[in-house]
């Protein structure tokens, strides 16, 4: 697998070109700058374009020249073995990790140059980490994050989200006393609190009980957000996503529409690409 693979894939698979996000990118970032408008019809959710993204940690290369486009309002599932660079990619998009080289664009605007404070308003993150404070109650946690994220009509928003995730009865309980599944539900409410138009999900299923899983699916089914999902769970990832990509050793080695794939063969496809 040579250096060309990633850009070749993005170019030849021809996905999502219609969305106003440029398809085949140039090798250098400037030439490959994507289009500037979001797709019409999808309420405000931005497209994400990744160009030649590289991140090295000392001698370890977490990402190597990754090119990727996620159309506005679409759902991309990202697979790959441990250490493939999935979480690093999410971290860069979320503004937590500074890339060594390359760029990320949201609706054609580069977000990797200088940290834009407002980026946080557009991104909701849910991972196996709940980001909740054990000592505080559910309500206190959500209020704190609500203030930090500048959520308007905070109390109403928190109340309706707690109902959605079925936690209104426990809103006064300290997070410490909640089960893992309950915490993950609160974490889901926390991630949606500021109504982000991009959702970054890093192994969100871990610890979610059956009910919460259904809730997460309902949220995702609304299709008003651009979603990036990182998971080891091939079946679950495949059934909800529009597109799948596989990262291996920091390179994008596979990228296709879900409709082009047969779920039964995908496990074999995955094995072929990560070995």
């Amino acid at each position: 697998m040579g250096d060309r693979s990633a850009s070749d894939l993005a170019g030849t698979s021809g996905v999502n070109v219609s969305s106003g996000v440029a398809g085949a990118p140039g090798v250098d970032g400037a030439a490959g700058a994507p289009g500037t408008s979001g797709a019409p019809g999808i309420a405000g959710a931005p497209g994400i374009s990744v160009r030649q993204l590289t991140k090295t940690y000392g001698r370890f290369r977490a990402l190597h020249r990754v090119d990727m486009d996620v159309a506005p309002g679409s759902f991309l599932a990202l697979f790959g073995p441990n250490g493939a660079g999935k979480s690093t990619l999410l971290g860069i998009i979320a503004g937590l990790v500074r890339p060594s080289r390359g760029q990320v664009f949201l609706d054609g605007e580069e977000i990797t140059k200088d940290r834009d404070e407002d980026l946080g308003k557009r991104i909701g993150a849910l991972s196996y980490q709940t980001y909740l404070y054990d000592e505080l109650t559910v309500l206190e946690n959500l209020r704190f994050y609500g203030r930090l994220f500048g959520v308007e009509n905070r109390e109403d928003r928190i109340g309706s989200l707690l109902t959605t995730v079925g936690m209104e009865a426990r809103s006064g309980s300290p997070v410490r006393t909640l089960s893992r599944g309950m915490r993950q539900r609160v974490a889901l409410a926390r991630a949606l609190l500021h109504d982000p138009d991009i959702l970054l999900l890093d192994e969100p299923y871990s610890g979610l009980d059956q009910d919460a899983m259904v809730m997460l699916k309902t949220v995702l089914a609304a299709r008003d957000k651009t979603v990036l999902l990182v998971t080891h769970d091939l079946v679950r990832g495949l059934e909800s996503a529009d597109r799948v990509a596989i990262l291996n050793h920091g390179r994008l080695v596979f990228d296709a529409e879900t409709s082009e794939l047969s779920p039964s063969d995908f496990e074999q496809t995955y094995r072929d690409h990560v070995v």
Partner: protein, 240 residues
């Protein structure tokens, strides 16, 4: 001599420094006049003060290159900072060694909390912190940023340490203090010339050692890049 030079891989620039060092040796040990009060021991000054100058200068260089590194994020500025810190640390050690050796016959004791010695000791501790963070933070992705921050704060700190140590002792005039004025005022012209030459030669020497140290760091980068290439073709051996 030539054999040693070859073994140590001393370049022409290095040889110039070596010649300069020998000249300094002559100037400070033989040519410069004998100090009246302290006697021959005072000749330690020519190397001691020159080392102290380099130790301070090197840390300012660490600070400046750290600022540039945070700004441009180019590895070469991190290399400059690292090399300056290591070489500066060596000179700071010289200061810490020769200080007490000079102090013993003059003050009758190895160590007094004289402002210059105290200053050097705090600077030495900051160098130690910097190098410790280099070594023990090696596995951290952000260690270069941390080091740059430490380098900048350390450099900003230098004037504060200077005044703090100076005034601290100033409140206790009973101890034998060797002030800047005392040193400079009592110095004859020949002494000043010897000290000036010594400072220039040490500066040259510092840059020579810096260049060697930087080349070494670049070699290390090259090794790691190659190792990465070799291992990348055996994907199994790469891991976080």
């Amino acid at each position: 001599m030539a054999g040693i030079a070859a073994r140590l891989r001393i370049t022409p620039f290095g040889l110039i420094c070596l010649v300069g060092l020998v000249a300094t040796l002559y100037l400070s040990l033989i040519w410069a006049p004998r100090e009246r009060v302290m006697g021959d021991v005072q000749r330690i000054m020519y190397f001691h003060v020159a080392s102290a100058w380099i130790a301070e200068f090197a840390f300012v260089l660490v600070g400046v290159s750290s600022v540039i590194y945070l700004w441009l994020r180019e590895r070469r500025w991190d290399i400059v900072a690292y090399s300056a810190a290591e070489v500066g640390f060596v000179f700071c050690c010289f200061v810490m060694i020769t200080g007490p050796i000079w102090g013993k016959p003059v003050w009758g004791t190895w160590w007094t909390w004289d402002p210059r010695l105290t200053f050097s000791m705090i600077l030495w501790l900051i160098y130690v912190a910097y190098l410790m963070l280099r070594v023990y933070g090696d596995d951290l992705p952000q260690v270069k940023t941390f080091l740059a921050v430490l380098g900048i704060l350390g450099t900003i700190d230098i004037p504060f340490i200077h005044f703090a140590t100076l005034w601290w002792r100033g409140l206790h005039p009973d101890s034998l203090v060797m002030t800047e004025e005392g040193l400079g005022a009592g110095m004859e012209v020949d002494m000043r010339i010897a000290l000036g030459v010594s400072a220039v030669v040490f500066t040259l020497l510092f840059f020579y050692l810096m260049s060697r140290r930087m080349a070494l760091e670049r070699l290390r980068d090259e090794t790691e890049a190659l190792r990465e290439r070799v291992e990348h073709r055996h994907p199994g051996s790469v891991g976080i």
